[in-house]
Amino acid sequence: MRKNPDIIQTEFRRLSPASVKLHGDAFNHLVLELDGVVYERVKPVRSFPLTAASTCVFLLDSEGNQIGMIPDITELPADSRSVLEQRLESLYFSTRVVAIAGVKSRHGVTTWNLRTTRGDTTIYVKDRNDIRTLPGKRMILTDTNGMRYEIANIDKLDDKSQGALEAET
């Protein structure tokens, strides 16, 4: 990695994976123990929620101030990691799409019949920008309510789903 010599200050506090201890409290809040200091109601924030969900995750204290950044959450100890991942999942609530039963487009609004890990559903997408293709053939749909639906890899969908998708990609 090329270091940029001219940047005077980097205010990031990189947290070493070993020093981070995370657990949930009774109110579903995240508690962080870091070098002997305990932070309650900690909020994790992803820097690149769509393209790099598990790296560069910031932890904010209850006031919204930066505590530090976890470069890669997969390096965390197993229990801390699962607590953090759970918390992130609920913060960045998104639904995994298993198959597409059909896509209809009328007057610019597309109606999607989806089979997801949360069950079958029908969503409406209004804006072309809400159908985003990301590197690795990932696709993210944002419906009119702001809910996110994620297709991990459109090439791995069954033929029927891919056929339904064809007009939208």
Binding site: E11, F12, S47, P49, N129
Partner: protein, 791 residues
Amino acid sequence: MSVSTAGSAAGPSDPAPLPVVGALIEKLSPALKAHADGLRRRGESLLALLATDMTPEGLFAEGFILCTAQRVISASASGGTLIVHAEVPTSTIVSIERVESHTACRVEAHTREKAVVLGLLPRPRCSVLAQVSEVLAPHMAPPVADQTSAPSSSTASGAANKGSIGGSHWHDGGWHGEDGGHGLGGACEKCGKPFPHRLGFCPDCMDKRTLYVRLLALARPYATPMAGSLALMLLITAIEMTQPLLTRILVDNVIPNADYRLFALVIGGIIAIYTFSSIFSGSRGYLMAWLGERIVHDMRTQVYAHVQRLSVDFYDERQTGWIMDRISADTSNLQNFLSEGFQDFIRDVMTIIVILGIMCTMNWQLTLATLAPAPIIFLLTMRFRRKVHRMYHSVWRKRSYMTSLLSSVIPGVRVVKAFAQEKLESDRFEKRSRSFMDASVRTARTYSTFSPVIDFITSLGFILVWSWGGYLVISGKGVTVGTLIAFIAYLWRFYGPVGNLSRFSQRLERASTSAQRVFDVLDTMPSVKDPETGTQLPPIKGEVVFQNVTFGYNPDEPVLKDVSFTVTPGEMIGLVGPSGAGKSTIINVLSRFYDVDQGSILVDGHDIRDVTMGSLHQQIGVVLQEPFLFHGTIGENIAYGCPTATHEQIMVAALAANAHDFIMNLPDGYDTLVGERGQRLSGGERQRISIARAILKNPRILILDEATSSVDTETEAAIQQAVERLVHGRTTFAIAHRFSTLRHADRLIVIDEGKVAEVGTHEELLAKEDGLFKRLVDIQTKSAQIVAVGG
């Protein structure tokens, strides 16, 4: 003014023939040259000879201004007679003056007593006068002390003032007339008409055939698939051609003789024909579609890549819609012709030849009768072609006129609404759309009168065959029913290609128009070029030296005049001055968007013209007043200058630009879509993203063009802080209208009317009582007070 007939002045004198044509000895027509030779006396040596095309009174006439050590003569010829307008002894001339209007300049020889008008020159030509007076100076009268109060500010009186910064002698040595380096371009050697230099050739004299050859040359890379597709097509045509022959056998042999065996064979043959022709045309269809898409893709990308390579002046001269049309519409037209039109042409010609052969072997008299209308069709088509050429050009122009309106008005919709001009804009569009429609309709009307006439003439051929052929069958004169039926069938197949060929002119016309336009773009050479050696600018410390830089977007109107200064590595320079003084131009030439006309710009001792632009631009970072964000995510926009940057590097840059916090507050963080149609960001937020972009690029030279002028005071503090981090340790050029933002600058360079007026620190310049900077600051302070009171 004296009048002399041709050659009368030649008399006893026998001057030496005119010397070699140089910068100051211009080329004259042979007749004029003889006149000029004739005017010179023995021993009179020629110093300068300027060709003119206007008399001093402003009448059009070929003429010249002849300058020798003894005399300066202005003369012109009309109808073989030479008229001498003025003759002044050189020794009495004090100065040669140019008196400029907006378009032309009057050349005057000033003696101590009076001014003698020598001629009228177009403005771009005037710069030659500096050289003329230079060569004349040793022979002219010595200058008088008070002569400096000459009527014209642009006195060109010779070497004495050469290169002085205070005067207006920016054009010393500047003779732009024939170098073609700028907008003027050269003139065609064949027709003498000027053409834009970016073309590099005279479009009027360009051979149509050359154009077609070039057009076909475009198809060369696809020769193999094209040959395959052509072979398939000929195969299909050949197979289909046998069908009438089978019909003839069916009618003449099978049916009368009730020959079942032959019947089965013929039916089998017909089935085979249809089967094979379906298979072949299916494969050919696919091949053609693939080939067509391939060609248009290659061509589009080639044109786009070329347009990207072109210099900024190419974009200055053209509207976005014009360029977009070249890339999308014209390339499609070309593809259509190359992949289909051209092959159809070959097929049609082949079909016609083969059918004629078959028909002639069946019955040549009948064939001749059938062919009678063909020459008429051909002649009509030729005439039509010429007419429709102009119409297509007009349709094209009107279409791009219409789309260029769209691309200029739609981005400015806020202005339109703010000034309540929606109605006006709709009307304007309606007008352009209507003229486009009218032109299209006119073309369609010509076509719709042409087509029925052709159809009618074609049907005459059928009438002839039916009547004469029918007569031959009925009277039993050697023509069988089967032959007649086959003949008619071939005739149907014959007129199809003839019709196609007559439409081929249209296709060819459309293709050659598009080809011309595409070639126009492809032939345009970047005016700012990389050195042929391909030398890279090594990593620099950041020293910048301007050495006597003179530059104008128009060679005759310099924006920078003899600008010189040196900036040490890491120094921050504030460029200040009234608007239009040339501040942005300094940045434009430093970025090498344009090449300077005279002088040079050195970066760490390297002339920027001697290194590749890529290596220069890699070390220059720019933050503009209106930050431009591409459609994409924030992360992608920050990483625009270095696509390989890691996520952490991007975030560190954003942090230094004071952008990290607001980005993290967006639900999608660095993955938020911005740019056109993306998330709306405030001016300050966009500005900080563009600063992060510059920080990540880590340039040695930084340009801040009004980087803080479009944001409110509160975010200005955040941006100012970001800018300070960015500036640290880099050579920086900052343009700002608010002088307060330049308080950290090491030195200020005050630019006024294209010249360096003052250089110094903030304090030094303020200390100058009558300095320009102090005056500007005073004005700003006063207006700030007014705002403060008023607000």
